[in-house]
């Protein structure tokens, strides 16, 4: 109990302090508070993850009842993930924001919002009362909004921020609906009430309740078709905020879904199939759109959608495993999903931070204007490369481990499957592998266009490598990624208790074929070490051999024609041209092309603008319709003060008269009845 009070006191003190000191100290205070809160809660979370959960109950008010705060293994896993990303984000952000120090008021607001986001995220993971949960959820939504609109002088940023704000409130509506419905039925906002309630209901009601919560959480997590806010909000935010949003804020949606799965007893098989299909669609759609993006931050945002899809596939497999009481499948699915949650928060924040470095050095993240950065910023480039390999799910990094577990779950499902599930499995495997293949296409494009080759434009300033302290959090992230890649069993052991929350009621059925996918992980560190040694050996051999040989440098082989140099290079659009031609029916790419018809053509422009088909269908069209209907009432807004006063008078009269009129109507009804 004491610790939480201390944290709240620290929080308030920090906010007061931030308001009263100068800009540099604001950053230092924010950073240190984040680290203090992060470390202290991580301590509790570690204990909860490895031994027993931490639980206290606050006496609440009449309105929402007692407030139990409980950190069980699942909360602990998410709290640790959140703390790591937020702390690295804070260190990175502290250095990143140096460029903006003259904007004092914005910085104040930014710092306060940052701390509140951290607190709200931790709170959401541990509180067990629906009412407080919603309060914290709202607090998170608004603080993230403030973080996103830091550069509020740009109209695009405000637009993206408002888009985010609106959509996250739609999410809150769904959540409120769920919590209030349960509270109405059981007179309690506690999470236990949800569990009790679903125990006594038919599975159909449980499923409906779960779907209501799922819709709410899916908007936050970015499942297709609820993803449309994400590709706007991520690029608009300052880079460390994008990293945190993509790393942990959208993961809180995953946390919510998992929490509800534990609480609501329902038909797991149906839910599992539902989540699986939505997730495969999300994954493929996300990566398909990511591939055609030329704005690096937008590309990464679409990749977040893809990775949410992969996490969702894991959850879906886990649920189906629960429904079929296939313990191995459930374990593989849920551990894959949870590990991928951590993994994605690591490599995605790393990718965003490297992008931020590029943005500050080159003042743009439009790929078509970048190139050859690896020679100017070697450390940032290598960090981006490592993260890119990880996000493609390639060995020997962490992304491979979680994808391996999820695929292992799918292959394990084969043995206990009937016809329908077999077909599902084949399509899931195909989908997952296709996602991986497209991710490779996408990130080989992103890395090579931005970092390799020659510069496509002359940058406004000389490009320099970022300072050590801005790179430091990135080194931290990368080392955790490598540790997960090399010693996966360590993390699998840590995942035992969170996964057990889902699977504890399934008795091990000895007839089930044992999956060694988890045992296989132990061979990986040997294999990966072998790979490293082999590569190093070859490079050494090359060095030894080529010592005696003549090594020359020259221009790139241009097949006899070399004058245009950097302008002749492949661009991001041309790299994915054959892909976008193939996928054209599914995508929505607007092209502006000028025909060349004169004999001596002058300079010509060619523009492509990828758009989101689902957004056009689900957001733009209904909005247009609403606007059309609203336009019918445009005559009311005629700018005449007299008219507005008249409206006011009409309104007041109506409000006053309404009860009277209703009374009269009731009286007449009575009279009629008496007849």
């Amino acid at each position: 109990m004491a610790l939480i009070n201390v944290i709240i006191v620290i929080l308030l003190l920090t906010i007061i302090l931030i308001l009263s000191v100068n800009t540099v100290s604001k950053g230092i205070i924010t950073l240190s508070t984040t680290i203090i809160i992060g470390l202290s809660t991580s301590f509790i979370a570690f204990k909860a993850l490895l031994t027993s959960s931490y639980e206290i109950v606050f006496s609440g008010t009449l309105l929402f009842g007692t407030v139990p705060v409980k950190i069980d293994a699942l909360s602990a896993w998410f709290i640790l993930t959140i703390n790591f990303t937020i702390i690295t984000g804070a260190v990175y952000g502290f250095n990143y924001m140096k460029k903006y120090r003259e904007r004092k008021n914005d910085i104040t607001l930014h710092c306060i919002a940052f701390i509140l986001v951290h607190f709200a995220l931790l709170g959401i993971c541990s509180v067990q009362n629906g009412f407080i949960f919603l309060l914290l959820w709202e607090m998170m939504a608004i603080s993230v909004f403030i973080l996103v609109i830091f550069e509020h002088e740009k109209p695009d940023t405000i637009k993206a921020g408002v888009n985010y704000l609106v959509q996250s409130h739609i999410s809150i509506v769904f959540l409120m609906l769920g919590f209030i419905y349960v509270a109405y039925k059981t007179q309690s906002y506690g999470f236990d009430a949800i569990a009790d309630f679903s125990d006594h209901q038919s599975t159909l009601a449980g499923t409906a309740l779960f779907l209501c919560f799922f819709a709410g959480f899916a908007i936050k997590a970015g499942f297709v078709p609820f993803h449309t806010w994400l590709p706007y909000a991520h690029p608009a935010a300052p880079t460390h905020v994008s990293g945190i949003m993509s790393g942990v804020v959208i993961k809180i949606g995953i946390y919510g879904i998992l929490r509800m799965l534990i609480l609501i007893k329902t038909d797991y098989t149906t839910i599992g199939y539902f989540i699986l299909f939505v997730s495969i669609f999300t994954g493929i759609y996300g990566v398909m759109l990511a591939t055609i993006q030329h704005d690096l931050k937008k590309l990464l945002a679409y990749h977040s959608i893809e990775n949410i899809g992969i996490i969702g596939i894991g959850i879906g497999i886990g649920c189906i495993g629960l429904g079929a009481t296939n313990k191995w499948m459930a374990i593989l699915g849920f551990s894959g999903a949870l590990l991928h949650t951590l993994n994605h928060s690591l490599f995605k924040s790393l990718l965003f931070y490297s992008t931020g470095n590029v943005l500050q050095a080159a003042h743009t993240v439009n790929m078509e204007r970048l190139g050859g950065i690896i020679k100017k910023m070697p450390r940032t480039s290598i960090l981006f490369l490592i993260a890119a390999i990880a996000i493609c799910g390639l060995p020997p990094l962490n992304g491979f481990i979680s994808e391996f577990l999820i695929l292992g779950g799918l292959y394990n499902w084969l043995y206990s499957a009937n016809l329908i599930s077999l077909v599902t499995i084949v399509f899931s495997i195909g989908g997952l592998v296709l996602i991986g293949g497209l991710a490779i296409l996408c990130f080989s494009k992103a890395f090579s266009i931005v970092f390799l080759g020659n510069a496509r434009c002359i940058p406004p300033d000389e490009i320099h490598e970022t300072g050590f302290w801005q790179l430091f959090p990135m080194y931290m992230t990368v080392s955790v990624m490598i540790i997960i890649g090399l010693f996966p069993s360590l993390f699998l052991d840590a995942l035992q208790r969170p996964v057990n929350l889902f699977t504890h009621h399934i008795v091990f059925n000895m007839n089930l074929i044992k999956v060694g996918a988890i045992d296989s992980l132990q061979t990986f560190n040997l294999l990966f070490m072998g790979l490293f040694m082999f590569v190093l050996g070859l490079l050494l051999l090359k060095k030894l051999i080529s010592n005696k040989k003549i090594i020359k440098t020259g221009p790139t082989w241009g097949c006899g024609y070399n004058p245009a140099g950097s302008k002749l290079q492949y661009t991001a659009a041309s790299f994915v041209r054959s892909y976008s031609k193939l996928a054209k029916p599914l995508l929505d790419i607007e092209k502006k092309e000028v025909e060349i018809d004169e004999v001596f053509p002058s300079g010509k422009h060619y523009e492509t603008d990828p758009y989101d088909k689902i957004e056009r269908l689900l957001i733009d069209k209904p909005l247009k319709l609403i606007n059309k209907i609203a336009d019918l009432f445009l005559f009311l807004q005629n700018g005449k003060l007299q008219m507005y006063i008249l409206y006011g008078i009409i309104f007041i009269t109506a409000v006053l008269c309404l009860p009277l009129i209703i009374d009269k109507i009731i009286a007449i009804l009575h009279f009629l009845n008496n007849l």
Binding site: G372, I374, I389, C392, L394, P395, F400, E403, F404, G408, Y411, L414, L419, L422, I425, V426, I429, G430, V433, L434, G436, G437, L438, I440, F443, S444, K445, F447, S448, L452, G453, G516, A517, S520, T523, L527, G530, L531, F534, V535, L539, K542, S546, K549, I551, K552, T553, G554, T556, W557, G558, C559, Q569, Y570, S574, F575, R577, S578, Y579, L582
Partner: protein
């Protein structure tokens, strides 16, 4: 252990056999079987020219590419004899580690800043992406068929009993040969002997590599061929004793090489924009194999 030695051994002659087949069918005298090997050895002895545009990626990529192929070979069994490592889901590792090598070869091609190499890189990335589902569905079908999830266990329990299973084995070999051709950028998808950079895929990606690096890339290509040959052979030698398995293995490898040579002699390369369709056909064939397995297991009601 046995498998890696055999793969290394076969890789020495594989490309030679292809070249020899091609020269015999076209009525040329042609180079000897050992010529590709001599080429590699000559390259290892040579110096190198690096483009000014390239960075460290270009220097390390060939070594990584070669190492990934070796690592992939490690999990391949020889019939019922395990590979150097064998674990559940090792075929996932196999496909992903090869993808790592491919990733590096793509970015190393892009590192030169040449538009020709960019063209090859983009095609390679696209085609191998489409080939991947075929492989996973194929192995998935055999995993379902045998109830096992590692290369070694799948192949050692694989019995081709009834006529349907022979058909499955045939179709699986077809898919594997095609995957091998795509992964090695050989004929109907890519023509290694073409003289126009615009029509190349793999060859154009290594335009700027020379000396030791080019030697590594070429030998990785030879190894890859023998590796896929070993997988195809494994479909048939699963339960056999060493006395029969060994000659059969060598025979299948030779047949595979001759088949590749024949395909290259008598087929023209597809138009580039037809390639994706062709590769998607492979996924459909794998799906057919999957349905065949369902039929054998009587999963249809």
């Amino acid at each position: 252990m046995l498998s890696i030695i055999l793969i290394l051994f076969c890789s020495l002659f594989f490309t030679g056999i292809i070249l020899r087949t091609k020269s015999i069918t076209s009525g040329r005298k042609g180079p000897g079987i050992m010529q590709p090997l001599r080429d590699v050895i000559r390259l290892f002895k040579k110096g190198a020219v690096y483009s000014e545009t390239t960075s460290i990626i270009f220097q390390i990529a060939p070594a990584i590419y070669f190492s990934t192929v070796i690592m992939a070979c490690l999990v391949i069994p020889f019939g019922s004899y395990k590979g150097i490592v064998s674990f559940d889901g090792d075929f996932i590792f196999f496909a992903y580690i090869l993808a790592l090598g491919k990733f590096f070869s793509i970015i190393s091609a892009m590192d030169t800043g040449s538009s020709f190499e960019g063209m090859g890189a983009s095609r390679e990335a696209l085609y191998s992406m489409f080939a991947e589902p075929a492989f996973f569905i194929l192995i998935g079908s055999f995993a379902l068929f045998t109830g096992k999830t590692s290369f070694n266990e799948i192949f050692s329990t694989l019995h081709l009993g009834s006529s349907i299973t022979y058909m499955l084995g045939g179709m699986a070999s077809f898919v594997m040969i095609m995957i091998a051709l795509i992964e090695n950028s050989r004929m109907p998808v890519d023509d290694p002997k073409t003289h126009l950079e615009l029509t190349m895929i793999h060859e154009v990606m290594v335009l700027d590599n020379s000396g030791f690096d080019l030697g590594l890339i070429l030998s990785a290509g030879y190894l890859k061929f023998a590796m896929y040959g070993a997988i195809i052979a494994d479909f048939f030698i699963g339960g056999l004793s060493l006395m029969y398995a060994l000659p059969l293995f060598l025979l299948i490898q030779t047949l595979f090489a001759v088949t590749v040579g024949m395909i290259e002699s008598f087929m023209a390369r597809f138009r580039m924009n037809h390639n994706p369709q062709f590769i998607l056909v492979l996924s459909s064939v794998s799906f057919l194999i999957f349905l065949g397995v369902l039929l054998v297991l009587e999963k249809f009601i």
